[in-house]
């Protein structure tokens, strides 16, 4: 179904404005929103003032509100929510994403939040030209990822150079964006059956992009009947026997979190696999009232297409007891044959790209699996410990969908949890790219999927520090908006900054911090926002006293995970920043001294290629 989302900013009377967000499609729409206050950095959200929260709003942790959209009228599919804006407060912008609880889908804005500015963006102190540019780029393009773009007329506050608190630029606007609700007609189940040439076993792979948990309720057929039988073991993981009549296998979530898959290896003598999919207690998917049936080949040489065609293109009907029928009725299940054999795909031009992507995903999945085992079997001689927290450390969470983490965290309620989502930064011709937004976005997405229940190691910051320190490229430490380029620049309260851990450094050394430059790394992370983690090995190294001085400075000056960082220099050989206007730091061989103005700076910690000052 296609429809639109609209956003309307309306002036009710002087200093009384309201913002409405609506959607024309049926669904269980939730506005997931928060605000930015004047002076907030990054993409972090804050709770809006109490009086801005419409009735029925639910606070999500300390950074967001969820407000359901109400039906405008009975029999109409329009949903809307209206927020009365408190312009007395220092709210600078309102951020939101739209969530459809029926499908679990999030409707975002180019992978980021929708942002409605309520203030003119005033340039900081002239050094944010790059940031300005970047901002305007965002306001130029309209990118409708799902539907055709309608003509949209933008009405935005004209830029003014007035003081930040003035809202004279605020203008009414109304915008519509097309959306299509993707659940309709877009979920699919792919079933592939092939014979393993070596073992002659039948390998069936079931893959789906259905959101949420998907359980395959299945049995096998033999002797020409379509009666369900229980095959001999072994079964795939997470398989349970259901009343001696069928097996239930919960499909594994894909790494990307958007769907699941399962592999069934079955004896060569069997004739077929029958199954239905179970989405929840009341929702079943079958093939027009029938079970899905996947016949196996009797001869290994026959191509599988003809047989698979039997189940292709059918629209399954759902069990009519279903309450959530709005969702399931519309699902078109498309069964197609997706042979795993690469060579056969080379002939199918149309499929090549899709296959490539599947292959790449598979490669990444396998490599991640290999890595997680290899590194756990590689002997480690150093005890691992992150200093200062009671909580979970989730090792190597890539391939571990964030949603699971949320459940886990909800159940265990640790004081602090952090996940390590480690994948590669972006490089071009072996050179690290300046822009690592895609990399930090993946980490932010992971945190998002945990609903903020867990923080994440700021792998982006570590990677950029590597390049900056190793090659004397300190300009990398400021993003185009003049903010820190890692996760800490976007979501400091969830970023756990570190320069080394037991995998990257120590005896394993999979991605070691540039040698001899560790203290520059600490001078950076221990003065900057985010939650810094000190590597155990470093505490028992020559760096001990320098790290201790930086730690006590952080405590003394009460720097915290949301401290504000003002980057004052990011040049080839020096990076300098002032944090919360009371701590100044520089790293790199280049020269920097904090301004000798109203503040009185004194050197707090100093070492090789770094210096930290505090106000006294």
């Amino acid at each position: 179904a296609e429809g639109k989302i609209y956003v309307r900013l309306k002036k009710v009377k002087e200093n009384d404005w309201e913002l409405s967000v609506g959607c024309s499609l049926p669904g269980k729409w939730i506005l997931h929103w928060g605000v930015s206050y004047v002076g907030d950095t990054g993409s972090e959200w804050d709770q809006p003032p109490e009086d801005m929260r419409p009735p029925g709003s639910l606070a999500i942790k300390d950074y967001a509100i969820e407000t359901p959209l109400e039906k405008l009228s009975e029999g109409d599919s329009f949903h809307e929510v209206t927020i009365n804006l408190n312009l007395e407060s220092s709210v600078a912008a309102l951020n939101f994403v739209l969530k459809d609880e029926e499908t679990g889908a999030w409707y975002q804005h180019k992978g980021r939040d929708f942002k409605v500015p309520l203030l003119d963006d005033v340039p900081d102190d002239g050094n944010l030209i790059g940031a300005k540019k970047g901002f305007e780029l965002l306001s130029l393009e309209y990118l409708g990822a799902l539907g055709k773009l309608s003509n949209i007329i933008v009405k935005q506050g004209k830029s003014s150079s007035g003081s930040t608190k003035e809202r004279k630029g605020l203008e009414e606007f109304y915008e519509e964006m097309p959306i299509s609700k993707h659940v309709s007609g877009d979920n699919s189940v792919s079933v592939t059956a092939r014979k393993c040439p070596e073992t002659s076993k039948n390998i069936v792979s079931i893959e789906t992009d259905l959101p949420g948990d998907v359980t395959v309720h299945w049995g096998v057929c033999k002797n020409g009947s379509k009666k369900w039988e229980i095959p001999a073991e072994p079964y795939p993981e997470e398989t349970f026997l259901f009343k001696n009549k069928a097996l239930r296998t919960r499909l594994q979530r894909k790494d990307s979190g958007d769907g699941s898959f399962g592999l069934f290896s079955l004896d060569e003598k069997l004739e077929g696999l029958c199954f239905v999919l179970k989405l929840n207690e009341n929702t079943w998917l079958n093939n027009r009232g029938e079970d899905f049936y996947v016949p196996f080949l009797t001869s290994t040489s026959l191509p599988v297409e003809t047989e698979a065609a039997q189940v292709s293109g059918k629209t399954p009907k759902t069990n009519q007891e279903v309450s959530e029928s709005g969702f399931t009725d519309e699902i078109i299940t498309e069964i197609r044959n997706l042979a795993i054999d690469i060579s056969s795909h080379k002939n199918q031009k149309t499929n090549v790209k899709e296959v490539h992507i599947n292959i790449l995903q598979e490669i990444e999945k396998l490599a991640a699996e290999a890595y997680s085992i290899f590194r756990s079997t590689t002997p480690t001689f150093t005890p691992e410990k992150e200093v200062g927290y009671d909580g979970w450390r989730l090792d190597f969470v890539r391939g571990f969908w964030g949603g699971y983490v949320k459940d886990y965290m909800d159940a265990s309620k640790p004081y602090f949890a952090v996940g390590e989502y480690w994948d590669s930064l972006s490089y071009t011709y072996g050179e690290m790219d300046y822009n690592q937004d895609a990399h930090r976005q993946r980490i932010v997405d992971w945190i998002n999927a945990t609903s903020g229940a867990a923080g994440a190691f700021d792998v982006t910051t570590k990677g950029i520090l590597h390049a900056a320190l190793q090659k004397c490229e300190y300009w990398r430490l400021s993003d185009p908006k003049g903010k820190p380029p890692g996760v800490v620049g976007w979501w400091p309260s969830r970023a756990v900054t570190f320069i080394e851990n037991h995998d990257t450094g120590s005896t394993q050394g999979h991605w070691r911090f540039p040698g001899g430059k560790e203290m520059q790394g600490y001078a950076y992370i221990l003065t900057h926002p985010g939650t810094p983690a000190v590597f155990f090995d470093h505490i028992y190294s020559d760096y001990r006293s320098e790290i201790a001085s930086l730690l006590s400075l952080r405590n003394r000056q009460k720097l915290h995970c949301r401290s504000e960082v003002n980057i004052v220099k990011s040049e080839r050989d020096v990076y300098a920043a002032i944090i919360d206007e009371k701590v100044a730091m520089k790293i790199g061989p280049g020269h920097y001294e904090p301004p000798s103005g109203s503040q009185n700076w004194s050197v707090a910690v100093e070492g090789r290629d770094y210096k930290v000052w505090e106000t006294s």
Partner: protein
């Protein structure tokens, strides 16, 4: 305000898909879209055909700005006069401890997953180090191949080729020693191991001087190696010539043809020391000295060579005009290097007779002793046994032996470049590599490549350059080696890019798909219409 609605969990696939796209640069405003064939406007990285309605528009306001979406995995630009890498077969080495000394397969699950990943990536095959100390551990002639056979079966199932490295040496990390019964003999009878002038034995490899001495329960090491090869051939007969396409013979320490001139595990700083002080070496030297009429020269090795941790120039031996250039030096070095050459000949002859007619290619590995090779004396090569009288090519005799036995030569260090060497080490891996390649070419020996053990900056780029070098066609490259570091995200990503740079065919078929898609889905593209619509921005 720019708005995009990305509404389905499916969109997360976009991030995955990014891996497959090439660099994209497009500019708005006063800049032109660069529309050459290398650029694919590809941020519409959807994977399902249902996403075809995607369009890009820009608002009427005009501001100069740019967006560079850079790809995660750029492909190297083809240079016109370099050879295609399609013909280069890529192998990846399995961990040294793939099979434990109890014949279990270590990290079986990880290896299986890893092999699948490599197969999908387009890697040709796998190198499997097979240790003498694991297979013939307990008693002479008692071979236990089960662990290695299990690995071969996995490799076969995944559809990869296998290259077996028969290793007659031990390893420190991970610790794998020579067979127990050999170690026992070594304890009882001094002199079967290499020994330095301080009397320290190198217990991970037998001395070249005992090759034809019946020190192993009445058999010579060559006889023992020969039986080992025969046993391997029959145990793996089902795989020979189909799954197993190559066999590398261990020629010395770490499998490389050299003396263990560096015995210290600490950082290599000196040029190494001569290893000619075991009983058999000394008696051979004495005999050689007497036969050449210089009995006094046969009493020991050079007395003025530097110690392990000393700079080569700190004592006279390797200096310009030093002992190495003297008559004595020529005498000693000629003898010392001849043992190395004859050892290579013996092992390779044993192997080539054992594996004749199996359709498997034989290989032997050389070291790349690039440290100090800017010194005239090339001391690292001298202590390791590479010398030629009168300034002749010191690799020629070796290459001749390889040619005679129809053996390929594996040369490591193809990832090393001069610029990353410390100036103090007076090292030039590039020129040494070129030298060895030339020697091989002259003798008609085929060269296979390997990287050095530790990963080095710019390594992959250097490997590609080496493989593209037309003067000597390297047609097989083995990347060392699989393990935790190999699969760690930063490294594996770099490896993926490397493989795809080598794999031209996949690339072209992929391009077509992108092209086709683009035509259907894009409202902007390389054409002028697209550019114009963007430039209204």
């Amino acid at each position: 305000m720019e708005v995009s609605v990305i509404g389905n969990p499916q969109t997360k696939k976009i991030y995955r898909a990014e891996l497959t796209y090439r660099e994209l640069g497009f500019r708005l405003g006063s800049q032109n879209i660069s529309g050459d064939s290398r650029n694919r406007v590809s941020f519409l990285t959807h994977q399902s055909s249902k996403w075809k309605e995607i369009k890009i528009r820009s608002s009427p306001r005009s501001v100069r700005c740019e967006a560079i979406v850079s790809d995660q995995a750029p492909f190297l630009k083809p240079t016109p006069n370099s050879r295609s890498l399609e013909s280069v077969k890529l192998f990846v080495g399995l961990p040294l401890d793939t099979v434990s000394d109890c014949n279990n397969v270590n990290h079986l699950k990880a290896i299986t997953a890893g092999l699948k990943a490599l197969k999908l990536l387009g890697v040709e095959g796998i190198e499997l180090p097979i240790f003498w100390g694991v297979v013939e551990k307990e008693a002479p002639g008692k071979y236990e191949w089960s662990g290695y056979l299990a690995v071969a079966e996995i490799v076969k199932k995944v559809g990869l080729k296998l290259h077996a490295s028969l290793s007659f040496h031990g390893s420190k990390h991970p610790e794998i020693s020579l067979p127990d019964w050999v170690a026992k003999i070594g304890e009882a009878e001094q002199g079967i191991y290499f020994t330095d002038r301080y009397g320290k034995q190198y217990k991970d490899c037998l001395s070249f001087a005992v090759d034809d001495v019946p020190v192993l329960d009445g058999k010579t090491p060559m006889e023992v190696y020969g039986s080992f090869c025969e046993s391997f051939k029959s145990a793996f007969s089902d795989y020979m010539g189909n799954t197993i396409t190559g066999i590398t013979l261990g020629l010395g320490p770490d499998g490389e043809l050299r003396y263990p001139s560096h015995q210290h595990e600490t950082k290599v700083s000196g040029a190494g020391e001569f290893q000619c002080y075991d009983k058999h070496m000394l008696s051979a030297l004495k005999h050689y000295a007497e036969s050449t009429g210089n009995p006094l020269w046969g009493l020991g090795g050079p007395h003025d060579a530097p110690a392990y941790d000393q700079q080569p120039h700190s004592t006279p031996f390797f200096s310009d005009g030093g002992s190495w250039e003297s008559q004595y030096g020529d005498f000693f070095l000629t003898w010392y290097s001849s043992l190395l050459t004859s050892h290579a000949d013996r092992v390779l002859s044993v192997a080539s007779s054992a594996f004749k007619g199996t359709g498997v290619s034989l290989c032997g590995k050389l070291p790349l002793l690039h440290q100090w090779n800017k010194l005239r004396s090339q001391p690292s090569e001298l202590t390791a046994g590479f010398y030629s009288s009168g300034g002749h090519d010191r690799y020629e005799a070796i290459a001749e032996i390889f040619a005679k036995n129809s053996c390929r030569m594996i040369v490591p260090g193809m990832d090393l470049s001069d610029e990353h060497q410390s100036p103090a080490s007076l090292s030039s891996p590039e020129s040494l590599l070129a030298h060895i390649k030339t020697s091989c070419k002259r003798q008609g020996v085929v060269v296979s490549g390997q990287n050095s053990a530790a990963s080095v900056p710019g390594g992959f780029e250097r490997i590609v350059e080496n493989l593209k070098d037309e003067s000597v066609g390297v047609d097989l490259f083995t990347y060392q080696r699989m393990g935790a570091v190999f699969f760690s995200p930063e490294h594996f990503h770099a490896f993926t890019v490397f493989v795809r740079n080598m794999n031209q065919f996949e690339l072209s078929s992929y391009d077509q798909a992108v092209e086709g898609d683009k035509a259907k889905t894009m409202s902007i593209g390389s054409g002028t219409t697209g550019a114009a619509s963007l430039q209204t921005a």
